[in-house]
Subunit: 245 residues, 2 copies
């Protein structure tokens, strides 16, 4: 992580701002900590913001910190030698970011939108994991959730058509960002957190194909667009049909 890119939020006396808000998030790791550990953490953690496109974890670079995502979306990408790219994961608040027990990763993490993070040094968290079984349990749960999501996407990548892929993507975003739009027949409104290029990299398609499929969903009345980003889904159920179950 290139800390020079980061703007640290500190109090006027220079002490870092502790990310107490994490405590309230059921999937953030802080919730599993004792108040004593939280105090320890507060001395080393800091909150910061990143603009869209900023890189969090360079490829093959040493990961020197872990973070909770407070807001925004982070994309995890892998790149082949010749430049072909695939997004292998999306992390939303309040996900935990960082790979325990492994100093480096072949994965690049980038801010897909503006992102605010609460970061801690790797060493502190690694020690707390060893001391606190609850924390490890939380990590296991998030990792299992990420594994489930990855496997769902493997089906999408391997076996769905371009039309189904794009519908699946919009559906997934709808469920993440507008989760209370309700099931079956209800509508949903939200902003796509990614560019067409990112969506293409996520779905294993080209920009043009993504654009054409979005156009098709629009002309078929499955979605209504304003700015290329803002989406209104009149009937989530109808979108689900397009996603190929």
């Amino acid at each position: 992580m290139n800390t020079q890119n980061l703007r640290k939020d500190v109090h006027t006396d220079g002490t870092p701002v502790v990310c107490l808000s994490c405590e309230a998030r059921h999937r953030g790791v802080c919730g599993a900590l004792t108040s004593e550990q939280l105090t320890t953490l507060s001395k080393t953690s800091y909150k910061h913001k990143l603009g869209e496109g900023h890189e969090l974890v360079g490829e093959a670079e040493k990961v020197e910190s872990y973070s909770n995502i407070l807001s925004g979306v982070v994309k995890l990408t892998k790149t082949l030698a010749d430049g072909r790219q695939q997004i292998v994961g999306l992390q939303f608040a309040p996900d935990f970011l960082g790979r325990p027990f492994k100093a480096d990763s072949e994965i690049t993490a980038q801010a897909a939108t503006n992102v605010s993070l609460c970061s801690f040094p790797k060493s502190v968290i690694d020690r707390m994991i060893r001391e606190s079984p609850g924390l490890e349990h939380k990590l296991l749960e998030q990792t299992l959730k990420e594994l489930d999501e990855a496997r769902d996407w493997m089906v999408t990548l391997g076996r769905k058509t371009a039309a189904e892929k794009v519908a699946s993507y919009i559906l997934m975003i709808a469920r993440h960002i507008d989760p209370e739009a309700g099931p079956d027949g209800a509508s949903a409104t939200f902003d796509l957190p990614m560019t067409r290029a990112d969506i293409a990299d996520f779905l294993g398609l080209t920009i043009e194909t993504v654009s054409r499929q979005i156009t098709k969903l629009r002309t078929d009345g499955v979605i209504v667009l304003e700015n290329n980003r803002h989406v209104f889904v009149p009937s989530v159920e109808r979108l689900e049909l397009r996603a190929g179950s």
Copy 2:
């Protein structure tokens, strides 16, 4: 899990055979247990064998046991409503099999080859996980490893050509089954543990395309085949070039 399909190995007096061999495997969960816990486990665990194609965990069925894989290969598949299938994971001995903290799964586990397992009831392991942090740590490590593998395959599924996919698959099998064939320039010999249909489901291709690409690798001298299953790779390095890094 349909226990009626399973042949339990029991001693002549009827007590089940405990899978003590797990203890020696670094990735099997038993290694993380105390001898006391192992004794407890021995009262409920049993070893059994499954023929190729047997289903271990039915889709949306309750998972009632966990298992260590003692030998063979297990495939995890997901199926869309219209029958399209995607293999989302392969587990080799001594991997752990079973999804903690979740009673059901949308994943089907099937024996890809003949498989022998050491199974325990879900309740026993779930309790031991709560008591023993070391066990949870082992689970976290395996889950992280599976996540890494899943993400590697997402790149393959989304961004590689059919030729690269097949080469990547053969390379992965070579590394799993003949790991001591050595790096760079060395040769490898092994049996493909799956049918062409399985390989196609794993790579998001059709049987015909898999067959054609294997033929191409053969005529190009990258691999040498005897029985459709037995593969000799004269130069692993040359195969790596075909896998598209």
